[in-house]
């Protein structure tokens, strides 16, 4: 039982933090958001640091790092409010491709590592809410290949991605956990069109419309892989949230120490001191559960799923609390577009909805309650 980071992990953190300091200040984020949320340039810069190969096996040109390294990077990207589809492209996609035949891996994994290809999971459907097994997009065999028909929603960086990993139904009812295949659809495939839009947090997403689009099979029985990859995404969202909360709290503390009203600093008011104490509580509970999520990623599915949902409940609540309270403590400046804290608030809000919001995951925890509770249950 040890929550210290290794020297290598500390170096990795420092390297990312150093790049953020030099390469991604608030004015850059602001400009990206105003211009519609295009972030491929940022993503490519992360590749220059080697970060897009973090989770790709060494045999495919990556670093083959683990969950804790991913967490460290996500914390720093969150702290810097770095706007890039990093978790989607560099962490979730390799986890999905782990189930692919060697030939498919050889096509995509080296390109992911080098950021030549941005590959994103396109799994959400209208009416599915956050249920991963609700899949109505169909996959049918045509000759030696497959074609997909359906619509995937709120796909990250949809018009900047080079390929999509699409869960599609091969057999069974819309809610069955069996009969869900995973497929790769390359950008520009006939029958695959993208309608993109900006997102609330200054990035970009879109609808992927599939009308008999040709697709490459990853696996015909993909639900377990999908769950595993989404859990990777959840752990990443948790870690990003921790970094973002940490910085938002620091900004708020600075503000409390300097802003004066009634002739004294905000820090002198007990009502606000108690608010910031509660914020600190939520931050530390969130940090604890982010560690928990990343450290549980390697466990067998039942334990992993339960732990990940427990973590997302805590992070969802922490992120909402910290975002709302830090905005309140700031007063008027907190609700302006020009000031950085509102951008943290919006990112934290979107992260709560990533891969299942608090109510969804509370339901998952509720379904999985057993006779023992606790970290080692």
């Amino acid at each position: 039982m040890d929550f210290d980071f290794s020297d290598d992990q500390v170096s990795l953190r420092d390297a990312v933090a150093k790049w953020v300091d030099k390469g991604f200040d608030f004015s850059r984020r602001h400009a990206i958001a105003k211009a519609g949320g295009h972030t491929r340039d940022v993503y490519n810069q992360l590749a220059e640091l080697g970060l897009t190969g973090l989770a790709v096996p060494e045999a495919h040109g990556g670093l083959g790092f683990g969950a804790v390294e991913a967490m460290v990077v996500m914390e720093e990207l969150g702290r810097g409010l770095v706007n890039a589809p990093y978790a989607a492209g560099a962490l979730v996609a390799p986890a999905l491709l782990a189930a692919a035949p060697a030939a498919v891996q050889e096509v995509w994994l080296p390109k992911i590592a080098s950021a030549e290809a941005l590959v994103v999971l396109a799994h959400q459907e209208r009416g599915a809410r956050y249920r991963l097994h609700h899949v109505t997009t169909t996959a049918t065999q045509q000759g030696s290949g497959w074609v997909l028909t359906g619509q995937k929603s709120v796909v990250p960086a949809a018009d900047e991605a080079d390929a999509f990993i699409v869960p599609a139904r091969i057999a069974g009812a819309a809610d069955a956990i069996t009969g869900i295949g995973l497929f790769v659809v390359a950008k520009g495939t006939a029958g695959a069109t993208v309608a993109a839009y900006p997102t609330q947090d200054g990035a970009r997403a879109g609808e992927l419309k599939l009308a008999g689009a040709a697709a490459t099979l990853i696996t015909e029985d993909g639900y377990a892989t999908l769950e595993q990859a989404v859990d990777v995404g959840i752990a990443a969202a948790c870690a990003e949230g921790v970094g973002a909360m940490d910085k938002m709290v620091a900004i708020t503390v600075d503000y409390m120490n300097t802003r004066k009203q009634f002739g004294v600093t905000l820090a002198s008011f007990q009502a606000l001191r108690h608010r910031i104490a509660d914020v600190k509580m939520q931050l530390e509970l969130g940090r604890s559960m982010s560690y928990f999520a990343s450290l549980k990623l390697g466990e067998p599915a039942p334990q992993r799923r339960r732990a990940i949902s427990q973590a997302k409940v805590q992070l969802g609540q922490s992120m909402r609390h910290v975002g709302q309270q830090c905005t309140q403590i700031h007063g008027g400046i907190g609700v302006t577009d020009e000031y950085i804290s509102s951008h943290y608030f919006k990112r934290l809000t979107v992260l709560e909805m990533a891969y299942g919001d608090t109510l969804h995951h509370l339901g998952e925890v509720s379904c999985r309650m057993t006779e023992t509770a606790g970290v080692f249950a």
Binding site: D2, D4, V253, N257, A277, M289, Y291, F292, Q314, A373
Partner: protein, 393 residues
């Protein structure tokens, strides 16, 4: 980064688990699992069993006859005791006053007081709070005046937990009114059989006698019973507080009680009610998060890196969770939580007039009793001030 305990730590846990299973009397764990009242003799019995094994002073270093356990081992010991349904160790002797005697007492005082604490033979009480000094402890007024080779103590202490059984009491007393309030306080050990001491019960809202008022009327205390130097008592008391780091969160007990919430909710037919069940799930998440917070503090203590100054957070969260599990248990019982069956708490074997009455009878009382947790040990509002102090200018 690693969530697992080391093989040595796991072996230690197995050893403690086996010993507790073999030595914890079943009638005591039955009472603990069902929130029945523990008598004086119940508490003394478990203390003596632990004392004989050398584990009552489980946080003590070897030089004072303790086991010399690491922070993680102490945590595992507390966990095994809690999960097995052991009565809580009365902290006043082994956990609170003993470390102060070790750090600031004379050799003579150590030889005189520590063996009785370690064996569980001597029951200690705490004399801190006063009617006019609750959260603002440093304003305390109980006076100790030096007269030759003894002090004359006059005043009143209150909220003295289990003081009705106390044989000795460690007190903060005022020896000077000069300077800041904190600088005129001394740490005095007082024999409760001394003439001039009166203990009066305070009955709490659950109808129980757990706390007391202690009156001092010209009580003669040998000057040999002063710990350290006169007027330095506040420093010693703070040292005492620094010894309660992670166990203040009481997360192990919370884990045990969460399982009881589930059992009672299942018995009362609300565990499958989504609205109720989700609240239990929420509490489960909160307990896991608290445990992770505790483990982070232990890890930091072990490695000496990343020191975590979050004792205030542990107190706030731990106490809120204790209130919450007691609240959910009471709510699970619904209207059957309403009957006030005081005799049910005393008698294992009491059946009552409706099904599961014995299980249900203690629930409301525990809920009422748990309101104390966010008030004592520095109210949660004081804790928030302390947390804010670590963040703000």
């Amino acid at each position: 980064m690693d969530l697992q305990f080391t093989p040595d730590e796991l072996a230690f846990r197995a050893e403690v688990r086996q010993w507790v299973a073999e030595n914890l009397p079943k009638d005591l764990s039955h009472k603990v699992f069902n929130s029945l009242r523990l008598t004086e003799e119940d508490s003394r019995r478990w203390a003596r069993i632990l004392g004989k094994k050398g584990w009552l002073g489980y946080g003590w270093p070897t030089e004072f006859g303790g086991p010399g356990w690491t922070a993680v081992q102490k945590h595992l010991f507390e966990e095994e005791c809690a999960l097995a349904g052991a009565p809580r160790i009365m902290p006043f002797g082994p956990v609170m006053v003993a470390p102060v005697i070790m750090a600031f007492g004379t050799k003579e005082q150590q030889q005189r007081f520590l063996p009785g604490i370690a064996s569980g033979e001597v029951w200690w009480s705490q004399g801190y709070s006063e009617p006019g000094s609750g959260s603002d402890l440093a304003s305390l007024k109980t006076r100790a005046e030096r007269q030759g080779d003894h002090y004359i103590v006059n005043g009143q202490k209150t909220w003295t937990t289990m003081g009705q059984y106390g044989e000795w009491i460690f007190c903060l007393v005022r020896t000077s009114t000069e300077g800041k309030p904190q600088t005129g306080i001394s740490f005095l050990l007082i024999d409760m059989k001394s003439p001039g001491i009166t203990v009066r019960p305070i009955i709490t809202l659950d109808g129980e006698h757990e706390v007391n008022e202690v009156f001092f009327d010209n009580v003669k205390v040998p000057a040999d019973n002063l710990i350290g130097e006169e007027n330095k008592g506040w420093t010693y008391a703070k040292h005492l507080l620094s010894h309660e780091r992670t166990n203040i969160a009481d997360v192990n007990r919370a884990k045990r009680e969460l399982e009881r919430v589930k059992r009672i909710a299942a018995q009362e037919g609300v565990l499958d009610d989504a609205r109720f069940r989700d609240q239990v799930a929420q509490l489960e998440v909160e307990i896991v998060a608290l445990e992770m917070l505790v483990l982070r503090v232990l890890s930091a203590e072990k490695s000496g890196k990343n020191s975590l100054d979050i004792a205030g957070l542990l107190k706030i969260r731990g106490s809120e969770i204790q209130q919450r599990f007691s609240e959910l248990m009471m709510l699970a019982a619904g209207p059957f939580a309403v009957p006030f069956e005081h005799e049910a708490l005393a008698a294992a074997g009491w059946q009552g007039e409706f099904a599961h009455a014995a299980v249900v009878a203690p629930l409301a009382g525990t809920y009422f009793n748990m309101r104390k947790t966010t008030i004592y040990g520095g109210s949660n509002e004081v804790q928030r001030n302390i947390v804010a102090q670590t963040l703000l200018a």
